[in-house]
Symmetry: C2
């Protein structure tokens, strides 16, 4: 692991690192905010994993989400990953589309060529990255949560539902909840996972609630009503219906007039951080 | 004036506009945050003008500074301008340097060719932009303040000291305080204003305190001790000495371990907004 940048922020430290990922067969970058030792001691600290949306890197969250202030107050470590493998030799969408390939890993393990060697963001987020974070930072692995935005909300929901012992709390901003039935997800899954839709279900939050069952967490979702992707790609009502049916504790808040941007995310970031801190203190 | 983008943020609105500037002879963009009418009524609101540093546009501040949360709470309108004229026909540094030409207007009125036609950010910030803001938004022109970062801190200090009736409060993050005697300023001033250094003094905060006199405001400056530009370009101690000598009320805070980035700015943004709100309520 090498350090790429480091800056003091709200008495803590916001840094960006790179490491060679065995899972993704490339160099991967991620960002870590650590609270002030002077204020909170040497930990171990609860840790939140943030998963970003399409086109993002680890940079968008740390520059725009405004999470550091409240993470500094609460004594949380916040890790933001990249959204896909990158680098020479990592295949991309042949047309350079924004919603597939680089910047669009969908937090799954690809089974189809030429994606299978590198596009293993599912295992990367679930296994390799937490192992590295637990080795290098003073985190308490029994108090870890996961959250994200849009494609990253999809990642947070699906990874949480399958690994609730590892990621005990979960929240999402404007998540893709039913990728198997919306254009972004159908495009990505058909390439990464092939045409047999039965193999898509482990990566579909609505299908997971139906097939895999609920988690013990109380999930928080915020969704802006002025989000351009709400009707066609996001459809939070499908997750709400599945949660009600399955008995999953869920608070879905429709936020009047908010769009899909980081102006929406930063507005409700404080609520999410406090939500996780409370869940992880239980 | 036309609207380029608009997003809800902390119950208010963060928007970006464009207009044709007579002063700069080009289309100029600026950003405006307006607080929620539901919470604060229809105004008129106090207004703060933010001036960014080298290489920035109006976008850096609105995406990264995290000002909206506290502006929303306090009921402040916050305007962020661009840092130079732009567009076809606007001359740039022939080598494309980051510290001169586009993105580096230095908030002055150029007198030398080929800069004089467009590079009039001094008049733009002092006259044209406030006139437009007062026409189009519900602002109270008797409660206006100015603040900025680095080159924009230089702009805020110099424009405030020369126009304290128009901009009653002033603060800065890591400002250039003595441009006539540091490399960034000497390069820019020699091109924009010519080689006669007597014509530089109206754009030098330290010289202004000596020549033009103090303002009635209590100025706040925050400066990170780990700022790479501190020793060579910023030199806040020169402004402190001039303020002490002239009797200018100044609080200069050296912030341990902070650098020149928006991680530094966002950490202390709340303090600055509350500082202005208090000064403008006097």
């Amino acid at each position: 692991m090498k350090i790429l940048s480091q800056a003091r922020s709200f008495s803590g430290t916001q840094a960006v690192y790179a490491h060679t990922s065995d899972t993704c067969q490339c160099e991967m970058q991620f960002a870590v905010f650590t609270p002030s030792e002077r204020k909170h001691g040497k930990g171990p600290f609860p840790v939140l994993y943030w998963l970003s949306g399409l086109t993002c890197t680890e940079e968008n969250f740390i520059a725009k989400a405004g999470a550091q202030r409240v993470a500094a107050e609460l004594g949380l470590i916040v890790v933001a990953s990249d959204t896909s493998p990158r680098g020479e030799g990592v295949p991309d969408d042949p047309d350079g589309a924004y919603d597939f390939g680089l910047g669009a890993g969908f937090y799954l393990n690809a089974t189809e060529e030429p994606w299978a060697a590198n596009y293993n963001m599912g295992d990367y987020i679930t296994e390799e990255l937490p192992a590295l974070i637990e080795k290098e930072f003073s985190v308490d692995p029994t108090r870890a949560g996961i959250f994200g935005h849009s494609m990253g909300g999809h990642g947070a929901l699906t990874i949480h539902l399958k690994n609730q012992k590892k990621f005990k709390s979960c929240s999402a901003f404007a998540p893709i909840v039913a990728p198997s039935s919306v254009p972004w997800g159908r495009k990505a899954f058909s390439h990464y996972l092939g045409s047999d839709e039965r193999r898509w279900a482990p990566y579909d939050a609505v299908a997971l609630l139906n097939d895999h069952g609920t988690s013990d967490a109380h999930i928080l979702i915020d969704q802006g009503t002025a989000d351009n992707f709400l009707q066609e790609q996001l459809k939070p009502e499908l997750f709400k219906a599945a949660a009600d049916e399955a008995g999953q504790a869920l608070t879905l808040r429709m936020q009047d007039g908010y769009d899909h941007s980081y102006y929406f995310i930063s507005t409700f970031m404080e609520d999410h951080l406090r939500w996780h801190a409370k869940q992880l203190a239980l």
